[in-house]
């Protein structure tokens, strides 16, 4: 019983991390029609920033680190969007290729800066003690992660559905040309959404550090999971990303625990099922 509950919680926390990664990817895709293959690298960059900051000064709160790393990654993302992606507005394939090139550059730079060994990230001290609930023992940090993902999901939902900015983003997602025609600065929205997505991924990277630790290849491990999440959930849908994240989190965690070598194949199954029955994804509206 303890096994199932712990694995269940592990699934939830991995799902939470995946949501932080995939929600930004999905938002960017929805608005900009851009498959941002740098997203895994943004996540990894966040993890390395977090690992460096928290190992240098163990008094730093993980929240401060996550927010500042998020801002730093968002700034890098914003520069990339402004300097490179805007030049390729009429060339969607070119945009994907430069994001791929950028992901190679970032991951190789991380390898050059931080070396090839994996860097463990300490769990924050105030979250190290396990939590007891209903007679079971839970690692507190993972519970907190799930909470973070839910908070992020609600915040993003409110941002998109209840603010002026969100209304403009939704208008851009639905019909960018029309949005431009009624005076919405879509080009600026692109930058804002790209920064936002990159920032969430970077902050998610910091929060994922204590579980995953920082290692070269983290980006290549996370990106396919994020891709499967958005293929499952439907591209451009926040709720779809949320549901997809937890489905993938569960399948991957239980797959790894029960059939360690086949976990990757098991990930195929829901993707194939969804693609066969609903190619636009569970909640997708876009025929991508």
């Amino acid at each position: 019983m303890q096994f199932w509950i712990i694995q269940g919680l592990n699934s939830l926390s991995l799902g939470g991390l995946l949501f932080l990664l995939a929600s930004g990817f999905s938002l960017i895709f929805g608005l900009m029609r851009l498959a941002n293959l740098t997203h895994g690298a943004f996540f990894m960059l966040g993890t390395y920033f977090g690992a460096t900051a928290m190992r240098a000064n163990s008094d730093l709160s993980i929240w401060t680190v996550a927010v500042s790393a998020g801002v730093a990654v968002a700034a890098i993302g914003g520069l990339f969007e402004r300097l490179v992606l805007t030049r390729l507005k009429t060339n969607p394939l070119g945009q994907v290729l430069v994001t791929l090139g950028m992901s190679f550059i970032i991951s190789d730079a991380c390898l050059a800066l931080w070396g090839g060994d994996s860097i463990p990230v300490p769990t924050p001290q105030n979250l190290q003690a396990p939590t007891r609930l209903f007679g079971f023992v839970f690692p507190t940090y993972r519970l907190v992660l799930v909470g973070c993902a839910i908070t992020a999901a609600i915040t993003l939902y409110l941002l998109l559905e209840r603010t002026r900015l969100g209304a403009m983003i939704r208008a851009g997602v639905d019909d960018a040309q029309m949005a431009r025609a009624v005076g919405i600065p879509v080009a600026n929205l692109f930058t804002i959404v790209f920064c936002l997505g990159a920032g969430i991924a970077g902050a998610g990277g910091v929060l994922g550090g204590p579980i995953l630790s920082a290692y070269p290849g983290l980006d290549a491990d996370m990106l396919p999971l994020a891709l499967i999440v958005v293929i499952l959930g439907g591209i451009g849908s926040l709720l779809g990303a949320f549901i997809g994240s937890f489905i993938v989190g569960f399948i991957y965690t239980f797959g790894t625990a029960l059939f360690p070598e086949l976990a990757y194949i098991i990930l195929f199954l829901p993707m194939i099922l969804v693609l066969a029955l609903r190619p636009q994804g569970l909640l997708g509206r876009l025929g991508a």
Binding site: V84, G94, F104, L111, A220, P224, Y264, A288
Partner: protein, 310 residues
């Protein structure tokens, strides 16, 4: 003129080992392998309008099947080659069904996800694939009893396979089917209205590209006598895609030129700098931003301009 140039070029290719040293002959063999791989990807990218980021799956899986069958299960090279090509082609048929549920960026993401899953499998299933250590100690086949262990003999073998593959892929795209493929790339709706089945045309092309990807994978594992999960990685797919785009997607010989350039760059750069991936990324940015139509079309445009001004 054109014929003379072609004959001269062919003679140059055949006679290369008698003038060049082993190092250059080996480099040329690698270029031939990369060229087959890039040409097969170009069927999808250039002629089918399907940008795949998972083409390394076919190269890697064919190489792994052949490596496993010959080293672990005692297969001779002939049957192993047949099984590995058949297996890779069957996998392409399955992957095609999955990936062609979407088009455009969705297609790209699905192919990427599928190939990343294979890459992860090659790393994790270490009792089968030997994980990060790769499979070493492989041998080259001996077609008709001829040993391919010398640089020159392997080069001629690769040249023969590459010539056949180039001819067959050229025939493929210049056939009536090739025209319908280009039609589906440019005007899928109109083609459907004309009674063609766009999905079927794309699927057949996907399988055919997977087949030649598998052939290049066999040559790859014969050449290196070693296989490692990196041959399945996104980097491997991306190198081929860069070759296709740098050379000019949708042209017949462009991707071969592009693949040669990428390979030469990789070989020379890795002698001086450790950071191949970073360089690859920078070259990607450069090509896409500066030469989006590729080097071969770019140069021929320049030539035409000069002719026009004369």
């Amino acid at each position: 003129m054109k014929w003379i140039a072609a004959v001269l070029f062919a003679a140059m290719l055949v006679l290369l080992p008698s003038v060049a040293g082993d190092f250059y002959v080996n480099l040329a063999s690698q270029i031939l392998i990369a060229a087959i791989f890039a040409l097969s990807l170009n069927l999808l990218v250039g002629f089918g309008g399907m940008t795949s980021l998972g083409h390394a799956s076919f190269l890697g899986v064919a190489a792994y099947i052949s490596a496993l069958l010959t080293s672990r299960y005692g297969f001779a090279h002939g049957p192993a080659a047949i099984v590995s090509i058949a297996g890779t082609t069957a996998m392409a048929a399955v992957f095609g069904v999955i990936a062609l549920r979407a088009s455009g960026l969705g297609f790209l993401m699905i192919t990427l996800a599928l190939s990343q899953v294979l890459w992860g499998l090659a790393y994790r299933m270490s009792n089968v694939t030997n994980g990060d250590n790769g499979i070493a100690g492989l041998t080259r086949p001996m077609p008709f009893g001829i040993s391919l262990d010398s640089a020159a003999s392997f080069y001629w073998f690769a040249l023969a396979v590459a010539s056949v593959s180039f001819l067959m892929m050229t025939t493929f795209v210049s056939s009536a089917f090739g025209s319908s493929l280009k039609g589906v790339r440019d005007q899928p709706r109109r083609m459907a209205a004309l009674g063609f089945n766009p999905w079927m045309i794309r699927w057949i092309t996907f399988i055919y590209a997977g087949f030649w990807g598998g052939v290049s994978g066999l040559l790859y594992v014969y050449y290196n006598k070693y296989i490692h999960p990196t041959s399945l990685s996104t980097t491997s797919s991306a190198e081929a895609l860069l070759g296709v785009i740098a050379g000019g997607s949708g042209t017949l010989s462009g991707p071969a030129v592009g693949a040669a350039l990428v390979l030469l760059l990789k070989n020379y750069a890795s002698a001086y700098v450790e950071r191949w991936n970073m360089l690859l990324g920078l070259v990607f940015l450069f090509i896409v931003l500066v030469m989006p139509t590729g080097i071969v079309p770019g140069l021929s445009k320049l030539l035409n301009l000069r002719r026009g001004s004369r």
